[in-house]
């Protein structure tokens, strides 16, 4: 999207009274729920995350070292990275879904499956579906920075602009994230003078029809610029370390986006996994922590639904002290104050073998249970987020007997194998 397109969008949809330049002010342009998807790219090992195995040294280095798993509320976590700090701070805000079968060992297929809910192609990313429902008409309805971004035809993804581009899009005088082409005060004087001259010209009442039309159009662009300046007023002087997340949150605060997709990589730990994850895990948890802290500061946190997912899980340790691809992994869903927090739904075996789960209670149920797949989570999310589509080609094909009651506060699995 270039500035011209952006200007058209803003000019079309932003009411003149919309944006108030206060730090935590909210735009009336879009003030609904904000969906944030975070793709932990590479295949996040469930053992290193929310489904720890602490007794078998073949599973984890921390098990070999005798380091116990951590516990925050009812959620267990691996004693790695900054997990202890992260889970202790947010366990009440999260629903952990363990034992999720991605149905693939391929990075590309896993990325698509967890974004859309289906292994087969042609389904929309949940972000796209959300943007099509709530963000239609917004300048940047679906901001994307990593993960699956192929459109199913509902709504294209807008790459998250860097801080310079973002500011340049909404502030014509911006040369970068922090510098202007001209001193803004000088520019304001020029604009004021020009407006006075235009008003004086119009007041003479001597303009020809074409002159009058051009003058009206000029006034309209002036109004659009004023609206743009209101959007620009949400842009901070400097952007934070997690720039993509910061840009997305500012866009959400300004009301110009409905959903943000982010990625945090480094989880493809085929060799020396613990070393790789010593960096990758804190980077992920720090970003999520940043999003919650920043969104609170911006007055957005109560509007956010956040999901952390990956392509698949990983095997026990291999000969290189790493872990290979394994289709069974985990997801985490978060909100600010959910009734469904501090719960674990779904489970896997001692080496993350697939288990069947009772759809209503969450209990391990080898007879009547169902294997949790991404489509089940997406089906539940679509209902929860109000984005259930009637379009048959986007139907997730989840039979009624496989409707997991993930968001039921009393349904849970815990960690039955430990």
């Amino acid at each position: 999207m270039d500035r011209r397109d952006f200007l058209k969008m803003v000019g079309t949809v932003v009411p003149a009274w919309s944006l108030i330049p206060i730090a935590n002010a909210q735009s009336s342009l879009y003030s609904g729920r904000i969906l944030i998807n975070i793709h932990a790219s590479g295949g996040l090992d469930a053992s290193s995350w929310t489904d720890p195995r602490e007794t078998n040294p073949a599973m984890n280095n921390y098990a070999a070292a005798g380091t116990p798993a951590g516990l925050a509320g009812d959620i267990r976590f691996a004693p790695m990275g900054s997990n202890a700090t992260f889970f202790s701070k947010y366990y009440n805000q999260m629903l952990v879904i363990n034992g999720v079968n991605s149905e693939t060992n391929s990075h590309t297929d896993g990325t698509r499956t967890h974004a859309t809910g289906r292994l087969d192609m042609g389904y929309p990313n949940v972000a796209e579906l959300f943007a099509a429902q709530y963000g239609r008409g917004l300048p940047m309805p679906w901001l994307n920075s990593g993960g699956f971004s192929t459109s199913a035809g509902l709504m294209p993804a807008t790459p998250v602009p860097d801080s310079n581009t973002f500011r340049a899009l909404v502030a014509p005088n911006a040369a970068s994230a922090t510098n202007d082409f001209m001193k803004q005060a000088d520019l304001n004087k020029a604009f004021a003078t020009r407006a006075q001259r235009m008003a004086a010209l119009q007041a003479t009442g001597t303009m020809l029809p074409k002159q009058s039309l051009l003058a009206d159009q000029f006034s309209a662009t002036t109004d659009a610029r004023a609206l743009m300046e209101r959007v620009a007023s949400f842009i901070p002087a400097t952007f934070d370390t997690f720039t993509q997340a910061h840009v997305g949150l500012v866009a959400a605060q300004a009301g110009i986006t409905s959903t943000i997709q982010l990625a945090s990589g480094g989880f493809d730990g085929h060799s020396q996994l613990a070393n790789a994850y010593a960096t990758a895990l804190p980077r992920l948890t720090d970003m999520v922590d940043y999003i919650w802290q920043k969104s609170a500061a911006l007055g957005l946190s109560n509007r956010i639904f956040l999901r952390i997912y990956s392509e698949f899980g990983r095997t026990p340790l291999n000969a290189g002290n790493g872990k290979d691809h394994w289709s069974v992994g985990s997801q985490v869903l978060m909100e600010a104050n959910p009734a469904w927090g501090n719960r674990v739904f779904g489970a896997s075996g001692p080496k993350h073998e697939q288990l069947k789960i009772n759809t209503a209670t969450g209990a391990v149920d080898p007879v009547n249970g169902v294997v949790i797949k991404p489509r089940h989570i997406h089906d539940a999310m679509r209902k929860y987020l109000g984005i259930t589509t009637t379009d048959p080609k986007f139907n997730l094909k989840v039979p009624a007997t496989e409707n997991f009651d993930f968001f039921n506060p009393v349904a849970k699995t815990g960690y039955p194998n430990l």
């Binding site: 790219s41 391929s106 095997t315 000969a319 290979d324 691809h325």
Partner: protein
């Protein structure tokens, strides 16, 4: 890498090229190559060899003359499962270097998660005659001039003499090795079939399939040296 290291590497590369050229002139056996392949236009594969921990300066067209063009099939199979599938892919093979064209005679392996020459795998001992492994359950067999070693999932290690695992050129697509262990009196039979073998979990394709039987245990896997 500092300037001195690069100089040494370049010198080593020139020596390697010289040795290869001399070998070709004398009709020598195929040399071992390791490096990265990238996809060129019209299905062309372009190869750039590793020289120590660095990538060599020359890119060559790759001509895949391995049985059933196993390298090409292996590269495609790994790209199906690897992260960032368009990036250069690490490969090992035996072949000939004719300057602008490197010819593959025997595909050894392609590994999707290797990002640089410095990170190239070093799990196969120099001079290994046979290196095979599998999962579910995990096992590994390595034969070197010093002897054979079978590692089983329960941690058991069985040693075998070296002589049964000598290279058997011209034995056809399937080779069979039988050995007896003086350690525990057990016997091992290993059948190696030269065809592309993919381990999706490990983002690795190799040039041969392996079936191994030891006592009452039968396992299957892939071989990167055979």
């Amino acid at each position: 890498m500092n300037v001195v290291d690069r100089g040494l590497t370049n010198y080593a590369g020139r020596c390697l090229a010289g040795v290869l050229a001399a070998g070709l002139a004398g009709g020598a056996a195929a040399a071992d190559f390791r490096g990265f392949v990238t996809d060129g236009p019209a299905g062309l594969l372009v190869f750039q060899s590793c020289q120590g921990a660095s990538l060599g300066p020359r890119a060559s067209k790759l001509s895949d003359k391995s049985p059933d063009t196993a390298l090409t099939a292996g590269v495609a199979a790994v790209r199906q499962v690897m992260e960032n599938a368009g990036r250069p892919l690490y490969v090992e093979f035996a072949g000939d270097d004719a300057g602008s064209v490197v010819t593959v005679r025997r595909f050894r392996r392609a590994v999707g998660h290797i990002l640089s020459c410095a990170g190239a795998p070093r799990d196969i001992p120099a001079g290994a005659r046979l290196h095979a492994s599998g999962v579910d359950p995990n096992w590994r067999f390595v034969a070197t001039p010093e002897g054979g070693r079978l590692e089983l999932a329960d941690g058991k290690v069985v040693r075998f003499p070296a002589s049964p695992f000598s290279a058997r050129d011209g034995a056809g697509r399937t080779q069979r090795f039988d050995a007896w262990s003086a350690q525990d009196g057990g016997t091992v039979r290993i059948e190696v079939t030269e065809e592309m073998c993919i381990d999706e979990r490990a983002e690795t394709a190799t040039g041969a399939r392996v079936a191994l039987r030891y006592s009452s245990t039968s396992v299957e896997g892939c071989a990167a040296r055979f």
